[in-house]
Amino acid sequence: MSEGGTARPVRPRPRLRTFGITAGLLAFTGFAAREVEFAVSTFWEAWNNPLWEKFWPVPWDWVLDRSNVLDPLVETFQIAILATIVGCGLALPISFAMSRLTAPNRPTYLVSRSVMNVVRAVPDLFWAKLLVTAVGIGAFAGTWALSVFSLAVMVKLFSETVDNADPRPLEAARATGSRHLPAIRTGVLPTVLPEYVAYALYVFELNIRASIVLGLVGAGGIGRVLEAQRQFFRFDRVLGMLIIVFVVVFVIEQVSVAIRKRLV
């Protein structure tokens, strides 16, 4: 076993259970691969697909025409702005209800927490589709869907911040005999406000991105144009639109990131 003085440690033998788990995962992977029609050949066959030619050349005069891309893009941003305002506004009181530190009582804490968990478990575009059915096709439904989701994201992020807030100012406020809301207002809110603003800006960035795909399910904005052109197989226009969209999104994000860096 040992050579040259120092013994090389023996490699631990894998346990039977490890084999079992590995075999199980491999079997699951194999089964899943068959179910999704896994085909490695796509990776190289895709390059020879004649359809790629439909992506080129980009019709710039169509793309840069105001009513084709720019106006829906502006609508997209309006959806994102409104959803951020509504979602983040509602998130402020709900986050306080959802944090152990500031919840008015245990039932409120439990109910708000479990409702928000379920809301988050439903994928965002499912919400969009439901609301499109409820209030009709268009930007209005998109705004609602995005508001619900900004609310869910914001509440999750911000309630964690509130959880970690310094409890001492709150105790001090309570010691003066303050009622619940004023105590939170003076004891907790000032310490978490900068992070609230930073998260709100962050949610705004997310909303800008998310609003682009909303239109694919009929919830308004640039995605609607994208979907229409896709159905006409005008992939050159799709590509041109995507280029414009990502340039604009990139610029907005850089501005927002710069502001967030200064805030926190």
Partner: protein, 296 residues
């Protein structure tokens, strides 16, 4: 106030100057932004106030969910198809991103390769899965394979970024030891770095799998396989109790997978000192963003 020991009115600090002005500016920006957006979306007050009622009417009709009908139509199978898509997509993403991450890390890769690989990660993260799927569907045809590819390629962006950050946080001692024995670059990566990052990287993969389950459910809505198509068609027929069943099953499976995966992740990470990796708060935010389909 003549009493000497009641300085409450005197000693209260005044707020720093400029705060008010900044607050006013912020409020003004919000109001202007809000008003401008409202005019663009053409929403009347009546419609705005009516919307929660309309939405509630629909939500009421989701109950009771038509479980029998959903089971007959094989909704459970569709949900599992979404899970398969997410699983294979995550594996594709993991396999593609791990080698790339070594080429993007500051401490192990030369500058000329690092910069383009990092930009590649950023570019990939910028394009939502749905858009990738829109591009892939004409190439691969409708079906789960388009969704799998979209998820796999999109995952490369975040997985690559996270793995890169994990590599940048390693202890360089083992790497130096390998170099001292004359090992080549690849050996250094394999024996000096990979064992250190594997636990955290594996937990990132699992985490991404949780995110991908939600993403693949959505992909079905544009025909890329999975449960989304079922939701769309039931909504089209306004068969709301079936919609309720589809939503219920989806939420149940999503939450079950989240819980299982989180338990496994905790076991993987427990006992491992954090190897740097992304800042926790920031990663939570980003992860959550991914979780919900909203991407940075």
């Amino acid at each position: 106030m003549t009493a000497t020991h009641t300085p409450s009115t005197v000693s209260r600090p005044s707020p720093p100057s400029g705060v008010r002005r900044r607050r006013a500016l912020l409020a003004l920006a919000l109001v202007i932004g809000g008003v401008w957006s409202v005019t663009g979306i053409d929403v009347t007050l009546e419609r705005f106030l009516g919307a929660p009622g309309d939405a509630w009417d629909i939500f009421k009709r989701l109950w009771p969910p038509a479980m029998d009908e959903a089971l007959d139509r094989g909704v459970v199978g569709k949900v599992f198809e979404s899970v398969y898509i997410a699983w294979i997509g995550t594996i594709i993403g993991a396999v593609l991103s791990l080698p790339l991450a070594f080429l993007a890390a500051t401490n192990v890769a030369p500058r000329w390769i690092r910069v383009p690989v990092r930009q590649l990660f950023n570019a990939i993260r910028a394009v939502p899965e749905l858009i990738v799927a829109v591009i892939f569907i004409p190439i691969t045809g409708l079906g789960p394979w388009a969704g799998t590819l979209a998820i796999g390629l999109h995952s490369v962006g975040t997985l690559g970024k996270w793995a890169t950050e994990a590599i940048e946080g390693v202890d360089t001692g083992p790497l130096e030891a390998v170099e001292a024995t004359g090992g080549r670059w690849v050996s250094g990566m394999r024996w000096g770095i990979l064992p250190q990052i594997m636990p955290i990287v594996a937990s990132f993969w699992l985490f991404r799998f949780e995110i991908n389950v939600r993403a693949s459910a959505v992909l079905g809505m544009i025909g890329a396989g999975g449960v989304g198509a079922e939701l769309v068609s039931q909504l089209m027929f306004r068969n709301f109790s079936a919609v309720g069943a589809v939503l219920g099953i989806t939420v149940l499976v999503v939450l079950t997978i989240d819980t299982m995966s989180a338990a496994v992740r905790r076991r993987i990470i427990a006992g491992v000192t954090r190897t740097g990796g992304p800042d926790d708060g920031d990663r939570n935010a980003e992860a959550l963003a991914d979780l919900t389909g909203f991407r940075r």
